[in-house]
Symmetry: C2
Subunit: 509 residues, 2 copies
């Protein structure tokens, strides 16, 4: 996994940090936070906090003390132990886009379905750049909403062997995800180690709603990793001031973490942030601007004060509707900020388009080039006497070239980063080839990767148990059996070229 | 002008800095540097350096002592004193693309001409983002090569009132540029202050050629600012090792600076760097990769050790032949590195395309959005009690929105960065508008700016003196009078809508 050894940017003075610390403390104490969840209210009241109606007025020191119980780093286990990741410290974990209801494949933009979801899983599995497929690379809308989490988690567990996100769409979905986790990891391991994570969003401003609290409590009680992320579009869910938004972000995450730590002290958590500006002319979200970049840098500094693993808001975010220059510069800017800020967990690192409404396969490839460049740039340069290659200078002398130098000949194959997508083709050759822009070339690249993808090995008994559970729960939740799935067909026969052929036939290109 | 107050990235350890310091010292002492210029050789020999043939073997301490004579910052004057810039410290000076032989306007790619040159001058003048048009935003190939510098400098002096670069294409061009500078600034000012700069490139590896040395000596003797920039494509002009390339870059710039300081102690100089990788499969240059980004970060750290203003290799560089996602992510990466590294002078901040072969008007607009975002991001966030907007939280409470809050209503017009190019339009509205991507929208933006551009005021006597000199020298250098130019026609009549109409009619769209 990637370790970011570059010193993180420090954009806040000690005085600014103190003011922001005072900010969240005053919010939780004087305005309080709403919890639309009787059990959560009871837990917090039982822990000594003042509750009026659905609002909890916190003692900030209580919050800080509970937050201090969370580990500063923890291992998130994968069903393949080689894919385990450590969250915290200088580690960075990368996950592709999460959540879009639409997908874009080349020129085709449509409502997302389970096949798209599965293809994103395949890409996340094949590409070492990603540490996990997350939990919802796109919304599989062709599956009934009641049982959608079952097909989603099954795809994550069978098409990838990397860490996965359990569903947080409802308490039921959380409970089912935990059962599936138990099938894969076994009860003892699940009881003692983080074998999945979930991501819960505050219903900002200053509110945690029942659905998210159901999940927070379910995963928290089970000791699984909880990522707590306010989703703050300044002007809409928070004031049009970045410091005010940072204070609010702290208030919302910290009380959520305090709740988790009250339910299960020491439960692994990730302090999340996701803030951006709003286009105040239209009310539309706007990504990749300076407010979001400064927000990422400041959020990192704040998270480090609490000694917590943290998730940055970015990823390669953009408002652009096309895989064009805007998509790339906004995406590069937010992704770079995550590196500069030393984020530990970075969602949306591949495929985010159109303010998160669209999961784009081409954009994922664009983002890979960005991601790889940044990973290499944030890897310290090794400088020693040998690296000075003095003999090459003696050999080449004045005004010559180094193409044929012995030093070059020994190293030319792997001396430089080789981009996946970027071309250095000269104009004439490029025109000859049909002038394919980055978007067009990206289309060829992801299709090749998906076509060559094979599901990672999985014990047949576990695979059967997953299927049996998904089938039973689908019937219970929807009143009917699940649609026969390609995935299931493949499970019944050895994975071979024939399976891929059928898949290729079914998939819309 | 922009002041970058973010602490620059530190990618080299003290030990690495010492090794690189030893690296350049060994090169200049043991391999030496070639100077294809008898006068330069005589000057250096006279200063006590060992000369064999055209190679100078330097005492590294001599080099360091002479370099120490250069000012750590200086004012570069403009003909409009409000446009003066200070090079050094935390200041950043931004200049659009320099040097391409081709231009791209939308779908049209062709050999550049003087009208393109003039339009880049108009953009650089109209846009506060740029501190100067530089010296050669593109090569005006429709002007005879012997007199090209005259039309170029005239356009810079009449279409902009910002600092300008004198021509370095030959000793003659340098001398003529200095005369034009004297016409505009007066002899006394030119003799005592930096009223123009020039950029000279080493003929790497380890060679300074006669043409560049002619310019270096002409501007250096005149006390004008000299930017010294090795152009290093690793694998071609330097070894395939970044540390080796950094040591070479230091060797080449430092001896050039030592020469300038020997000719005129205290002459303002800028330590330049421009290094990138080569695609070792094709031999083509490759921009925006991790080697160039780390190279920029390391170059900044090295330049600061010498206390010199420095020029980064970036700008918004890219190898892409199209204004597409690749162009934007490579460009954003190199431009961000220049900010992270705390560069003082940044050429190619708008319009660079196709490895610098093409000056693209659309790309310039893309780069403006990047540049503006970075300028805002690298401006410290102000955090005080008022910025916490506590009253807005009290007003909005839990689960509401901030669109109508008093705090928002007072600030919504200018609370956020407003991009020039990026859209937040929803998909349906965007599709309705014809699905214009960033490249297409950029075309509308630059055309509007060029169309509204007016030349800045210029004393009529000075204007006439420029024209008389350019005409006389053109006859002397080419044997024939210059072509009647649009610029000259406009000079004979008041600048008004009619002038713009004619320009619009003449310009290829």
């Amino acid at each position: 996994m990637f370790v970011n050894r570059m010193a993180p940017a420090e954009v806040l003075s000690e005085e600014a940090l103190e003011i922001l610390d005072g900010g969240w403390r005053r919010i939780v104490r004087e305005v309080g936070i709403q919890f639309l969840h009787p059990q959560a209210l009871a837990i917090l009241e039982g822990a000594g906090q003042r509750v009026e109606g659905e609002t909890v007025y916190f003692d900030p020191d209580f919050v800080a003390e509970r937050v201090a119980l969370a580990p500063s780093e923890f291992t998130l286990h994968a069903r393949n132990p080689e894919r385990d990741v450590v969250l915290g410290g200088r580690n960075m974990v990368f996950i592709p886009v999460q959540g879009p209801p639409f997908v874009r494949r080349g020129d085709e933009r449509r409502v997302a379905g389970i096949e798209d979801f599965e293809d994103f899983c395949r890409l996340a599995q094949e590409l070492d750049d990603f540490d996990s497929a997350g939990g919802l690379p796109c919304e599989p809308s062709d599956i009934p909403v009641e049982s959608r989490h079952l097909d989603s988690v099954r795809a994550l567990l069978t098409l990838t062997d990397k860490p996965f996100q359990g569903s947080q769409s409802s308490g039921t979905a959380a409970a089912d995800s935990l059962v599936l986790g138990e099938i894969v990891f076994g009860g003892e391991m699940l009881a003692t180690k983080a074998c999945m994570y979930t991501n819960v969003n505050a219903n900002s401003p200053l509110r945690w709603d029942d659905r998210m609290l159901d999940s927070l409590l379910a995963y928290g009680e089970a000791g699984q990793a909880v990522v707590l992320t306010p989703f703050l579009l300044m002007g809409a869910m928070s004031p049009v001031s970045l410091p005010a938004t940072l204070a609010q972000q702290l208030a919302e995450t910290l009380v959520g973490i305090a709740l988790v730590q009250t339910v299960r002290p020491g439960c692994p958590v990730v302090m999340g942030g996701f803030l951006s500006a709003t286009d105040m002319q239209s009310g539309a979200p706007s990504f990749g601007g300076p407010e979001s970049l400064l927000g990422i840098l400041a959020s990192g500094q704040l998270a480090r004060r609490f000694g917590l693993p943290w998730r940055s808001g970015g990823g390669a975010l953009t408002s652009s509707p096309a895989v064009d220059a805007q998509a790339a510069y906004e995406g590069t800017a937010t992704m770079t900020a995550a590196f500069m800020a030393g984020a530990n967990l970075v969602l949306h690192t591949g495929g985010w388009l159109e303010s998160g409404l669209v999961a784009s396969f081409e954009k994922l490839v664009v983002d890979l080039d960005i991601l790889r460049t940044l990973r290499n740039t944030f890897t310290p340069l090794e400088v020693d006497e040998a690296s000075l290659a003095f003999d090459a200078h003696v050999e080449v002398g004045h005004g010559g070239h180094f193409f044929g130098a012995a030093h070059t000949m020994e190293r030319f194959r792997d001396c430089f980063h080789r981009p996946l997508l970027a071309t250095t083709q000269n104009f004439e050759a490029w025109e000859e080839a049909g002038s394919p822009d980055a978007n067009e070339r990206a289309g060829r690249i992801w299709r090749e990767i998906v076509d060559r993808a094979e599901p990672p090995p999985l014990d047949e008994e576990i695979r059967d148990a997953i299927d049996v559970f998904v089938e039973r729960r689908t019937v219970e939740l929807t009143g009917r059996a699940p649609e026969p799935r390609v995935l299931r067909e493949r499970a019944a026969e050895p994975v071979a070229a024939g399976g891929r052929e059928r898949r290729r036939g079914r998939r819309a290109r």
